[in-house]
């Protein structure tokens, strides 16, 4: 996945930002940005919320925020880093709301999660995959993010550190903790 989207490509950022900074070519620049990053951002979001409809809604909200904020983007960070942060925030906000729904649910948080996943027409995983997703959902916010980025999206520690604005050492520790917790959870549940 990281090969397909070589977001460190400074030339690509330069082209998109060049188009966006000109009022007449703003729309074209924005469309190019969407085409370039939509798939990667979608999977980033989907790995956190699991359900396609949720991911679709969050992805749209993310790009609307990007559209409104692009004029203020000064280019201090890489474009993909900035986009990832917005997507992460939108996902986090959405998950908080979902968590509230789950808490209010008669069936309880665990059943709500499993039922939502099973009800998703675009999920085709077995029981082990459902338990794995549930285990990730139970992790603390930062550990969950780090695990998903590395385990599902094949991101390097350096890339994750840029997005989360933290050190590589701290990320490694978070990832290792997360792996141990998930392994214990899944083995116990199976």
């Amino acid at each position: 996945m990281s090969e397909k989207y070589s977001h460190t490509d400074k030339e690509q950022d330069k082209t998109i930002l060049g188009l966006i900074r000109n009022t007449r070519t703003f729309e074209r620049g924005f469309r190019l940005l969407v085409q370039t990053f939509q798939e990667r951002l979608y999977w980033h979001i989907r790995q956190r919320v699991n359900v396609h409809d949720f991911a679709d809604e969050i992805l749209q909200n993310t790009f609307i925020k990007v559209y409104k904020g692009l004029k203020n983007f000064r280019g201090d960070s890489k474009l993909y880093t900035w986009l990832y942060r917005i997507a992460s925030n939108e996902t986090f906000t959405f998950m908080k709301k979902q968590q509230k729904h789950a808490t209010d649910s008669i069936d309880g948080e665990d059943n709500y999660f499993a039922q939502t996943l099973k009800a998703d027409n675009y999920f085709d995983g077995d029981q082990a995959q459902i338990i794995l997703r549930k285990a990730i959902a139970n992790l603390p916010e930062k550990q969950g993010k780090v695990f998903a980025m590395r385990y599902f999206e094949d991101m390097s520690y350096k890339e994750i550190a840029e997005v989360l604005d933290t050190s590589v050492g701290a990320l490694k520790a978070s990832y290792h903790h997360a792996v141990k917790k998930i392994e214990a959870y899944v083995k116990n549940a199976l």
Partner: protein, 250 residues
């Protein structure tokens, strides 16, 4: 070296169990997406942005316009429209009435009020009517206010004093002395008389009596039955009379 290889090696060391799950997932992804999802996404997104732009005012001026029309549209909602129409109708009728009555006897015509000669009109009231009014409303009049408002002439003509001896209870209307001579006075009055005797207050001392007599109008004195009157006069009454006489001297 690919990052994927690094991740696999690291995971193999940390948890071979999770490495196995990951390999399964790589071979057959649990997540699917609708056909042509990414091909259509851009157009759906741009359509939604277009809708939001249409709803969002661009400038402050547009924003003010939008809020004006919003308020106006609210006013014409059925639940507000009836109230709004009623207020407008009442306002219009009021305006029409005011315009029609502009030249008639307008109670708020301040020029007409200014033309009124109040003292002249008061003089036209007969004295008997004025006295009758005062006696009927004596409860509402404060004694000090009444004495303060007496004119010199009224004080000179203070002959009424022998007709209406002062009452102990100043809040009650002054009664005719003949009523007091009733052969069977009410028990209440008898009690009051007893209380008067017991109380330390005071009948008039002889010096004050003489002063009073010397200062009163001779005419009035001739017609006065002093024993009947002065027997019930208190120091309070004397002070009041002194005040009146001082006013007369001035």
């Amino acid at each position: 070296m690919k990052e994927e290889d690094n991740i696999n090696r690291e995971l193999e060391d940390l948890s071979p169990f999770l490495k196995g799950l990951r390999d399964e997932e790589k071979q057959k992804s649990s997540f699917k997406i609708p056909d042509n999802y990414f091909n259509n996404f851009e157009d759906r997104l741009m359509a939604r942005i277009g809708e939001e732009k249409a709803l969002t005012p661009k400038t402050k001026k547009d924003s003010r316009k939008a809020s004006f029309w919003m308020i106006l549209s609210k006013l014409f909602k059925p639940q507000y429209a009836v109230g709004f129409a009623s207020v407008t109708l009442v306002g219009a009728l009021g305006l029409m009435w005011m315009l029609n009555n502009k030249n008639s006897n307008n109670p708020f015509d301040y020029q007409s009020v200014a033309r009124l000669n109040v003292p002249a009109q008061l003089e036209e009231i007969p004295v008997e009517d004025a006295n009758a009014y005062l006696l009927a409303h004596i409860d509402e009049v404060d004694t000090e206010e009444l004495t303060a408002s007496l004119e010199q002439e009224s004080i000179n003509n203070l002959s009424v004093i022998h007709q209406y001896p002062p009452s102990q209870d100043t809040t009650k209307p002054i009664a005719d002395p003949k009523d007091n001579v009733s052969p069977n006075p009410p028990k209440n009055e008898v009690k009051v008389e007893d209380e008067k005797k017991d109380s330390p207050s005071p009948k008039m001392n002889s010096n004050k009596k003489n002063d009073l007599v010397n200062n009163l109008d001779r005419e009035v004195l001739d017609d006065t039955e002093w024993d009947d009157i002065l027997g019930d006069v208190t120091n309070e009454d004397l002070d009041l009379l002194e005040g009146l006489l001082l006013k007369k001297e001035k």
